[in-house]
């Protein structure tokens, strides 16, 4: 069963930017693109663990601030020549409200 948890409003996140959601298993980065799509992925670059939420958001991708890996926000996979992936977390937008799926969190904790 999907357990949707409210994390706030879309207006809390700047366009082409990100905010973090703190969880017991570490931070989740929630991104808002220029065209108001919202994605959530682990805030942890598959390369050296860089905080992806601090990167530059372009299209539906983010460039890690530490070593410039480019991560797809849709798939969590590294783009270009690099290989690696981060976990993606389902997001639902209801009006202004944002929800992420907690079951995904629990499964990781288990």
């Amino acid at each position: 069963m999907m357990n949707w948890i409210s994390i706030g409003s879309i207006s809390d996140i700047p366009r082409r930017g990100a905010r973090c959601v703190a969880t017991p298993q570490g931070k989740i980065a929630v991104f808002r693109t220029a065209d108001d799509q919202v994605f959530a992925i682990d805030d942890h670059c598959p390369h050296k663990g860089g905080p992806l939420s601090q990167g530059i958001v372009h299209g539906a991708a983010v460039t890690c601030p530490l070593h410039n890996w480019v991560i797809s926000l849709e798939t969590g996979k590294a783009l270009g020549a690099d290989e690696g992936a981060v976990r993606t977390i389902p997001v639902r937008i209801e009006g202004e409200r944002l929800f992420i799926a907690l079951e995904a969190l629990a499964s990781r904790a288990a």
Binding site: I5, S6, I7, G8, D12, I13, P14, R15, R16, G17, R19, C20, V21, A22, T23, P24, Q25, K27, V30, T33, A34, D35, K48, G49, G50, P51, Q54, G55, I56, V57, H58, G59, T63, P65, L66, N68, V70, I100, L102, L105, A106, A109
Partner: protein, 828 residues
Amino acid sequence: MTPSDIEMAQSMKKQKIVIIGNGMAPGRMLEHLLEQAPDRYVVTIFNAEPRVNYDRIMLSPVLSGEKAFEEIIIHGDGWYIANGITLYKGHKIVAIDRSAKTVTSDHGVTEPYDKLVIATGSVPFIIPVPGHDLPGVLTYRDLDDVQAMLLAAQSRAKAVVIGGGLLGLEAAAGLNAQGMDVTVLHVMPTLMERQLDPAAGYLLQRAVEQRGIKVITKANTQAITGKGKVEQVELADGTVIPATLVVMAVGIRPNAALAKEAGIAVNRGIVVDAGMRSNDPDIYALGECAEVNGQVYGLVAPLYEMARVAASHLAGNETAAFVHMDTPTKLKVTGIELFSLGDFAEGEDRQEIVLRDAAAGVYKRLVLRDDRIIGTVLYGETADGAWFNDLKKKQTDISQMRDTLIFGQSYQGGASLDPMAAVAALPDDAEICGCNGVCKGKITGAITAKGLTSLDDVRAHTKASASCGSCTGLVEKLMVLTIGDKYNPAAVQPMCGCTTLGHDEVRRLIKAKSLKTIPAVMQELEWTTSCGCAKCRPALNYYLVCDWPDEYADDYQSRYINERVHANIQKDGTYSVVPRMWGGVTNAAELRAIADVVDKFEIPMVKVTGGQRIDMLGIRKEDLPAVWADLGQAGFVSGQAYAKGLRTVKTCVGSDWCRFGTQDSTGLGIRIEKFMWGSWTPAKVKMAVSGCPRNCAEATCKDVGVICVDSGYEIHFAGAAGLDIKGTEVLGLVKTEDEALEHIVALTQMYREQGRYLERIYKWAKRVGIAEIKRQIMDDGEKREAYFDRFVFSQKFAQVDPWSERVSGKDKHEFRPMASVGFAQAAE
């Protein structure tokens, strides 16, 4: 095995070839040899110079600052590795043992050879006058000489160049461009008398003097004097010329001593036959050290021909033979056009055609015998040099066009003056590149056959325009003629994958089209992505901040994280914080405040930086605003240690405390830092001010540095001490602190307006040219003031402390998570 089988087996085994010397001639020989017989030899090179093969004829542009050494390298280290060649750098061969067939270097390396190639070049001739061995007397031969001259030039003092020939004049022009007061001494009545007739020599002298170089002809150097180093040069007529640097450029002689010691036949040079073979059949010689048919050579074209011949012989083709040729001479001094070829002495059997245009400073002279050109001197306008050379080489009868011959090719046959038509009209075997002996047909053929579209491609495949570069214009015209629009002379590296435009083009269009937002730039310049990428967005944001300081709203989402949160991200995702300490000066109250912050926020590491301030490392992002608030209470502002902008101005204690200090270097450093903090630049800018030439603030490896001297402030720039190490260039000397500030600010603004994003000052300077920067900042007062004013205007919007802004709540979303979830569940 039959005898022929044995022969085959022997030839299968690789022979060992050793080359002594790594100049342009052996380098070219190897290129030919690798092409013709790639598997025949194992190659070992001994180079007395500690470096790879570079284009020696381009040393003059390096001296004048128009080119960097890296730009004149012919074979980089990778080439030797790729071709399996062993290169001993800095090894001088001291002995050849012909019976054992070995050579031994001064470092004790002994290598056996099957074939030996001697390419030891030449040594500069030193006039044996008293004092010729004083420190400060240099020759002009290799990169070491150039570096020594550049070092000497930093003093801005007086230099004397002995020798008014090709090399001497190039050295004089280079030293003059570096700001030295130069006098040329020439023993003959006119300059370059071996290549120019007196009329052209006079025009040349006038042009040289117009650059501020003094010329004394009929000057007989009698002595160089000074106590422990050069102080003056004395002439036979009693004239005394003060100088701290003397460059002897009176000629070269073949460097054949090593061969002579080994018992090889040596006359003026190492005597070789037309196949470049010495009297020892396993030893070849080529380049400036070789003598063929009683002639020795110094220009590159015949040396390259020797290289071609030697390579053919070594590859097994023994029919190739060196034939004497006349080579045109060109002076590589920017702004002086000069071409000389063949024999131009007067004589009974000769006629001449002369054209003079005093206003334009043009002089042309053709020397004819039996209606054929035998000599040419062109001064001021040399475009027809290639054509005259072709007519001379082919012994063309010019009687039909005699009346218009001197006006050049485009006047013949009623053809238009279009320079393109002139190039089109050249026959296929007309020589385009004199250095490398490349004719028109070879170039156009290679362009068509190999589908070449860039100048670099043509250089790589044909060598045309790859040496001195003076035929580049002709080669480019040939490219246009051959492939038309497909040749794009300004092929540029695009900014990133989102556009085909380069940084410079984007910067130009931002101004030209008044583009004032990132979306406007992307729309108008047809970006191929919807919102750019992490490469172009920060660059565009900077360009817009720089060009429209009052109108553009900084786009924080297009800034790197460090500039967005005004701290430096560390590998674990924490941040470091560096407050400004103006000029590196602090006090007890500031230190106490820092100590309190460190205790309060349990900051794990405190470190003194190289820029004379204090770094607090390991701060959690959430704590940043509170840390800044406490630092702000003590009067600290952001040190912008994270910015592509002004970082630090490092100082020494200067005249306030130091017994050597000549000026208040601390005060000037603080003044510069207070004036310039907050400004964004293409890449970080680090500065320093030293109070005396002992340079304790290490100003000579900074982006911008000042060395205080008794007479004022010497402004330096374009140093580097990171990935690259590079001493600064001297911008100039100014008398007052106010002037120093004005010049530094103007220089920085010029860099801000022209630099490509992430391009440090030294790379920008290399690209646009030191001379051009000096011209705009030192010589053009109006330009300098305009730069200064634009910087001051932009500072109105830039000098806002980003830390106090954030303490007041700006961008507070940056420093807090938007939510915390799952903790209750986890606790269950």
